[in-house]
Amino acid sequence: MKIAFACSGKGGLEDQISDRFGRCSSFTIVEVEEGRVKSVDVIPNPGSQAGSGAGIKAIKAVVNSGAKVIVAGSLGPNAMAAAQELGIKHVSVSGKKVKDVLNEVIAMLK
């Protein structure tokens, strides 16, 4: 299972989770197998440079990465509607670093 963490900076486990999904700087994609972290990848967010439709660009990047869970403060209306239709789950977290909530999120998704 892959989880996409919306990040405020350059991504990675040390980065801050972004309050807003559509225009966050990057996504940290964590692949989890049997409750353990298998790989960590960082991809840029094409929505960070977009006008309206940023949320959709961000969702597309998430779909391309194969992640079915998004961890971010909140999703805008377009992204929320698309996520629902695609069956992508949203876990709301704000003010924390990726590594701080990683285990909690993995446990939540079992």
Binding site: S52, G53, I56, K57, K60, V63, N78, A82, E85, L86
Partner: protein, 287 residues
């Protein structure tokens, strides 16, 4: 149908004030329709103090995917200009309605005939009778929609369908393709400007557009007196402008705006009003 379009480039120059008062004057002698094509922020009905009536929906086509016929080739998502089609995890196409412009490129590109036409509501047109003197057709875009074009098209079509002798068009500000479409087929374009470098700058864009369309142009210098007309006159000299009119700046115009009554009714003997009347008379001669 004779078509006179009132446009202006810069917002706030008084385009709508001129358009509305011209409609009041001209309707006394000619059967006419005023089309308010400033669909993002239409104001003519407010200046005239009338409530919009005879509402009709305006739709834009959106694709509906038939997953039974879809072969998951992905062409539709690839060619969509606006990125409105995205592929799900199962590689099926999914539409983001708010990004769709209704161009139907995906429908024509699909080789499996897997796309049917649905619709999305983007706004409304209205037809309001103003004091039984003339018809006002208004286009109104729903807030949140991005594109004015389908509304301009629908409102313009509705105005044409009334088959009056004269069509007066009040365009939006700017010089983009929505203005260009509103101006198409005009017999006369009236460019409203103000005697400032800002007005002159935007006037030159409108005159350039009018030249590209190949239409006769008159210029109205509104709020005359607040600055020197030097800049505007210089711009006018670079283009083929048939006539130039001036409407003086006055508190009465600002007041008519504020009171929701056209100048022609509120203060018919004011200098500003008489100037607009002069323009109306010139138009009558040409029609």
């Amino acid at each position: 149908m004779f078509k006179v379009s009132i446009t202006g480039g810069k917002g706030g120059t008084g385009k709508s004030t001129v358009a509305v008062n011209l409609a009041v004057f001209l309707s006394r002698k000619i059967d006419l329709v005023l089309a308010d094509l400033d669909v993002e922020a239409p104001n003519d009905h407010i200046l005239l103090g009338v409530e919009l009536q005879n509402k009709e929906d305006v739709h834009v086509m959106i694709p509906f995917f038939n997953y039974k016929k879809c072969t998951k080739c992905g062409i539709c998502a690839d060619i969509c200009d606006n990125g409105a089609i995205m592929m799900t995890f199962e590689k099926l196409p999914m539409l983001i309605p708010s990004l769709c412009s209704g161009c139907k490129a995906c429908m024509y590109a699909c080789r499996d005939k897997a796309i049917a036409e649905g619709r999305r509501l983007v706004g409304y047109t209205y037809r309001t009778e103003v004091n039984n003197e003339f018809s006002l057709v208004t286009g109104l875009m729903i807030e949140g929609e991005e594109r004015a074009f389908p509304l301009v098209l629908a409102a313009h079509d509705r105005a044409l369908s009334l088959n009056k002798s004269l069509l007066l068009v009040d365009t939006s500000a700017g010089s983009s393709n929505t203005v260009s479409y509103a101006l198409e087929g005009s017999d006369l374009i009236i460019a409203v400007t103000e005697p400032t470098p800002l007005g002159a700058s935007d006037l030159s864009l409108i005159l350039e557009l009018a030249e590209k369309i190949g239409c006769k142009v008159w210029v109205v210098i509104n709020k005359a007196g607040i600055g020197s007309d030097g800049h505007v006159k210089e711009v006018i000299s670079k283009f083929d402008v048939d006539e130039v009119f001036k409407v003086p700046y006055s508190r009465e115009v600002a007041e008519s705006y504020v009171k929701g009554k056209p100048l022609a009714i509120l203060s018919p003997s004011s200098q500003s009003c008489l100037s607009i009347r002069e323009i109306a008379e010139a138009i009558e001669e040409v029609v």
